[in-house]
């Protein structure tokens, strides 16, 4: 069981003049084991902040996040994170990037390289295991970043617009690969995206956040199996619904 429970979550960022910006307020969300959740919403709705709180990189002002019944108090390898920017360590080869988390756990070199090799193979980059990050394309770098997060065998995989910087074709391919990884590893995934299309393609449930302060506006379940057909009428219909929702929350400001 690797569910995430978010209760009455609020986050205020203090400002220079002593007041505070309320980024999130009263967020309640229950994420089930092995679920694929996409967080969408207009920019400034605090979706990245929410993800960072789950990761433990930010602390909530009010409320709580629990994973598997344990409260989140700081970053932990049990919650893997894939960042939007390229976050691979440029001084480490692919293999040693992927093995980094295992190295921190104190696992012996032989064993951690074996494990890392398995995940590198899973993302299809075995022939690049000894390459440095600068030798890889953007899509490959993000695949390595995913392998690096998975190598720690986390309960939850948190992804902050991981494909945001990629071109459209690479992006579509990465989405397919992510779904296959998800099916292989059965991880709970929380995925932040700007792209409604991406969310409808990937998610079991889409969580639409409203801005300033961010809170859950609507949760839309998408029961269809994968792979999904982007060009189908029902796909277009759901996409239209979500887009309209985001539009409304923005205009109601």
């Amino acid at each position: 069981m690797s569910g995430v429970t978010i209760r009455d979550l609020g986050k205020a960022f203090p400002k220079e003049d002593g007041t505070a910006t309320q980024a999130l307020d009263g967020v309640n969300l229950e994420i089930g084991d092995t679920e694929f959740i996409c967080l969408v919403g207009p920019s400034g709705c605090g979706k990245t902040t929410l993800l960072r709180i789950i990761a433990g990189l930010e602390t909530a002002t009010t409320g709580s996040v629990t994973v598997d019944g344990r409260a989140v108090i700081g970053p932990d390898p049990k919650r893997g994170m894939v960042f939007q920017e390229y976050s691979l360590f440029p001084w480490r080869r692919v293999i040693d990037n992927v093995a980094f988390g295992l190295e921190m756990k104190g696992i012996a070199k032989e064993e951690r390289r074996r494990t890392a090799d398995r995940y590198i193979e899973m993302v299809g980059l075995s022939q690049f295991r000894d390459a440095y990050p600068y030798e890889l394309s953007g899509g490959m770098r993000q695949r390595v970043a995913i392998a690096r997060a998975l190598a720690n065998d986390p309960d939850v995989l948190l992804m902050d617009e991981p494909f945001g910087a990629l071109d459209a074709q690479t992006r579509n391919r990465m989405q397919k690969e992510l779904l296959s990884l998800w099916e292989q590893t059965k991880k709970t995934i929380v995925f932040v995206t700007h792209s409604v299309d991406e969310a409808v393609y990937l998610a079991n449930r889409i969580v639409v956040l409203s801005p300033r302060p961010g809170s859950v506006q609507e949760v839309i379940a998408i029961p269809w199996p994968h792979p999904r057909d982007r060009t189908s009428a029902e796909f277009a219909e759901v996409r239209r619904r979500v887009l309209r929702m985001i539009d409304e929350t923005e205009n109601s400001q």
């Binding site: 390898p77 920017e85 360590f89 440029p90 440095y132 600068y134 720690n152």
Partner: protein, 258 residues
């Protein structure tokens, strides 16, 4: 003939021509070795100094001074730079002290170097240390301040849970290219300090000392020999360091910058 050999040949040709012009001016225009020693004067001075063994001995002494100063600057500058770059409190505490000491020219420390250490290798080493310390400190500090936040956060979510681990496995490797160029600058400053420190009597031997000593003796060809050796040694040290850093340490960095 490829570009590389062409470049080499032209370079050698230019040196030969410059030496010839120097020789002609020294011999036929100036005509006094005291004002401008000729190439042949310098060459024979070089041979004499080399045969007597003093030249090699002085090179060794100067390298010793340089080594002591640079090693001390590295051993103190990097850790203090790390502390100030990583821990806010250390920065606030040490910054005022550093800011007061930094603008003092290293050579202004010569009197105290002599009083504290006497005419020892440590005294000369100390002056070089003062010159080399601040470039290394500043480079380390700046490098640590500018470690991309995403690397630190990635380190945290991947299981670095102490400052020590984050420094050891994330910030330090990220900072090494900038620290290395700080060390290179420090070596240049240190080399200048070396000459001045030895000239001003912190030492009774060494290249800088001999340069000044031979000026007193009016042995100007010897002075030119020491000038050229100082330049050459500085160049070689810099080249060795750069090749080492580029070749061994920073294969990844070359690719990042390109």
């Amino acid at each position: 003939m490829n570009r590389q050999t062409q470049k080499r040949l032209l370079g050698v040709a230019a040196l030969v021509i410059a030496a010839a012009i120097w020789q002609i001016i020294a011999e036929y225009v100036v005509g006094r070795s005291f004002i401008l020693p000729s190439v042949t004067d310098v060459a024979s001075a070089f041979v004499t100094l080399l045969e007597s063994g003093t030249l090699v001995a002085d090179i060794v002494v100067s390298l010793e001074h340089f080594g002591i100063g640079l090693l001390a600057a590295f051993l103190l500058g990097v850790p203090i730079g790390i502390l100030m770059g990583w821990f806010r409190v250390a920065d606030f505490l040490l910054d005022p002290i550093i800011e007061i000491l930094r603008p003092i020219p290293p050579l202004a420390w010569i009197p105290f170097a002599i009083i504290w250490f006497g005419l020892t290798t440590q005294a000369a080493g100390f002056v070089i240390f003062v010159g080399a310390f601040f470039p290394i400190l500043t480079a380390t500090y700046t490098a640590f301040r500018s470690v991309p936040k995403v690397f630190v956060e990635a380190g945290k979510v991947l299981g670095c849970d102490t400052s020590f681990e984050l420094i050891r496995y994330v910030a330090l490797p990220a900072a090494i290219p900038a620290i290395a160029s700080g060390i290179r600058i420090a070596m240049g400053v240190g080399w200048m300090c070396l000459v001045a420190a030895e000239m001003f009597g912190v030492s009774r031997s060494g290249l800088g000392y001999q340069l000044w000593h031979n000026y007193y003796l009016h042995q100007m060809p010897n002075v030119v020999v020491y000038m050229l050796i100082l330049g050459l040694a500085g160049l070689i040290i810099d080249r060795i360091f750069r090749n080492y850093v580029d070749g061994q340490l920073l294969r990844w960095h070359a690719g990042e910058v390109a």
